[in-house]
């Protein structure tokens, strides 16, 4: 299981764009973790009369309208975004893989019911499901936010995993294992799971990008991360009133989102190409 996986990862590394994405991600994550140690407190307001100031030596990204250091806010926002994305995607993948394995392996009525539910859920744009769920809170607590995002993102993964399971069910070695009397659960874990891993990995990287955009969007709409927790989406929202007076307050948070999602997508792309070279 590790051997072929490492080979695929090596292949993915050869892709220039994928490499760029991976390195960028590592740097971003490092910045997110390390930055708070060096940068000023993101909620520390400076001279309120000065308001938003353009980038300078003291404030590399400038300050927002409450004279808070923008670089620090963006760096802290990275923690929030990456953290939420990581947790939510883990939740989605776990549920999705579980459902996919069950549906694919069990087949029959179980499969039919589950897939019908998945089809219906996929028909509703995720944003709407989230809005319907989140709109009820005045201020969404972070745990609820992460859970809601996680619980609404497993449908696609379950379909993919189920597909792989169905494909593998017919492979000789799985049939052989079953014929030899291997118990159901054991079959799943030792034979199916490793092969499904590839699909899950690609799914995961693309899902992270999607969640980051969703979280930013929901925060922009006011139903996501609540202040004072810094969030890129909320920063864009604040920048809306200062488009001509303080364009840097719009630029940097947006670029942060763009760069992060792009890096994640590039890595996901390289992985996908490595698993299935024909699509390159």
């Amino acid at each position: 299981m590790i051997g072929p996986l490492r080979e695929t990862l090596r292949r993915a590394w050869r892709d220039r764009s994928g490499r760029f994405g991976a390195i960028a991600l590592v740097l971003l994550a490092a910045a997110a973790i390390v930055a708070p140690l060096w940068l000023p407190d993101p909620s520390q307001m400076g001279d309120l009369l000065a308001g938003a100031t353009p980038p300078s030596a003291e404030h590399l990204f400038g300050t927002d309208r409450l004279n808070r250091d923008l670089l620090s806010r963006v760096a802290h926002g990275a923690r929030v975004s990456l953290g939420i994305a990581g947790l939510a995607v883990t939740l989605s993948l776990t549920i999705g893989t579980g459902v996919g394995l069950i549906a694919g392996y069990a087949g029959g009525i179980t499969d039919a019911i589950l897939m019908r539910l998945v089809d219906a859920a996929l028909a509703i744009p995720r944003l709407f499901i989230l809005l319907l769920l989140l709109v009820v809170w005045d201020r969404v607590p972070i745990w609820a936010f992460v859970t809601v995002i996680g619980v609404t993102g497993w449908f696609g993964t379950s379909r993919l995993v189920r597909g792989e399971v169905l494909r593998l069910k017919h492979e000789a070695y799985v049939q052989a294992a079953t014929a030899l009397g291997a118990a159901g659960r054991r079959t799943i874990f030792r034979h199916l799971l490793p092969n499904v891993l590839g699909v899950i990995l690609v799914s995961a990287t693309l899902a992270i990008g999607e969640v980051i955009l969703l979280e930013a969007g929901l925060s922009y709409l006011g139903v996501g991360i609540q202040p004072p927790t810094p969030s890129w989406g909320a920063m864009v929202l604040e920048a809306r009133d200062a488009l001509s007076t303080a364009p840097w307050t719009l630029l940097f948070p947006g670029l942060a989102i763009l760069l992060t999602v792009l890096s994640v997508n590039l890595v996901g792309d390289a992985l996908r190409a490595a698993f299935d070279p024909r699509s390159a």
Binding site: S17, R116, L117, D119, A120, A121, L122, A123, I124, P125, L127, F128, I129, L131, L132, L133, V135, V136, G209, L213, A216, G217, Y220, L221, G222, V223, G233, V236, A239, R240, L243, S244, P247, L250, L251, P253, G254, I257, L258, L259, V261, L262, N265, L266, D269, S279
Partner: protein, 324 residues
């Protein structure tokens, strides 16, 4: 074909029923009584509250609730909008449908022309600098938050350079005497920025699908055979190869329908475009639950319809599946 169509429509209808149930469950999942929470900040006549309650059947056992909801929904009755009472939700939605369709159609047009052409170009020049850069650029577009891009475009093209209007679909100062052409041009003028925003964010998918499909087809024997007949390269690429690479684009059209209908909540809100997207956006701010529900159901119906049209289109266009 007819038999297949009937079955397929039945499938879509069944899934839609499940969608309705799911949405209903979603609503009931929210902690507390949704109506109570949502109406406590406003003054609503008790009769109004009872009316809404009746539509959602909140005072009834769950089974009956579901039944009433389904019955009302089928009639198109989602009740009264909490924010805009006494306007019916159905009327609100109907009014906003047009602008969303217009925006969606414009984005679809850009994708089907520019997106397709770029995808084919990438396939023809696979591995070249153009191919790699187009991929990178389109991926960057895909990674952009649409609301952010919209704001960037507004600050540049509407505020700084004043080339395009920053908001709405029409110029509120347009005199009543303005002719049809003038009005149409005015709308087009307002259409540009929102369309560009949505197109940038979505063109990556189109390009990728088209590139992949085209690469598959270009490998096939009949492409070489077409060249051997002395046909122009243009004919070989578009008349022979692309005719076979059409199918994924049909898939995209099917995926497009929900975007056409909902018009992107974010983009419409930034531009104040009077479509379903901004309606939903407004409903979020005002916690107008019935409107959100109705919009969600409409968009879901659009998704299912889109999938149906795609499947039907594929069957119709590929002669092998038709007679096979």
């Amino acid at each position: 074909m007819i038999g297949w169509l009937v079955r397929r429509v039945g499938q879509a209808a069944a899934t839609f029923a499940v969608v309705a149930v799911l949405l209903f469950v979603l609503m009931r999942l929210a902690p507390g009584d949704p109506l109570q929470r949502l109406t406590e900040e406003r003054t609503m006549a008790p009769a109004e509250v009872e009316r809404l309650r009746a539509v959602f059947g909140l005072d009834q056992p769950i089974g009956t609730q579901l039944g009433r909801f389904a019955a009302a929904a089928v009639r198109g009755d989602f009740g009264t909008s909490i924010e805009y009472r006494p306007v019916q939700v159905a009327d609100l939605v109907a009014n906003r449908l047009g602008p969303s369709l217009l925006l969606g159609a414009a984005v679809l047009l850009v994708n089907l022309t520019l997106g397709v052409w770029l995808g084919v170009l990438q396939a023809r020049r696979r591995g070249s600098g153009i191919d790699r850069w187009l991929t990178r650029l389109s991926l960057a577009g895909y990674a952009m938050p649409s609301f952010w891009l919209a704001l960037v475009l507004v600050s540049l093209f509407a505020i700084k350079w004043r080339w395009f209007p920053a908001a709405q679909m029409t110029d509120p100062l347009l005199p009543d005497s303005a002719g049809a052409l003038h009005r149409a041009l005015d709308i087009l003028h307002h259409l540009v920025l929102p369309t560009v925003t949505l197109s940038v964010v979505t063109i990556a998918a189109t390009m990728r699908y088209q590139r992949t499909a085209m690469l598959e087809v270009l490998r096939l024997d009949f492409v070489r055979s077409a060249r051997a007949r002395g046909l122009t390269e243009r004919r070989v690429i578009w008349g022979h190869a692309w005719r076979n690479a059409l199918f994924p684009i049909l898939t995209l059209i099917g995926l497009w329908l929900p975007i056409v209908v909902s018009g992107s909540v974010f983009v419409e809100s930034v531009f104040n475009w009077p479509g379903l997207g901004s309606l939903a956006y407004g409903a979020i701010a005002t916690r107008d639950y019935p409107v959100l529900m109705a919009t969600a159901m409409l968009v879901s119906a659009a998704v299912l319809l889109g999938g149906l049209l795609t499947d039907a289109g594929q069957r119709a266009l590929d002669p092998r599946t038709r007679s096979g």
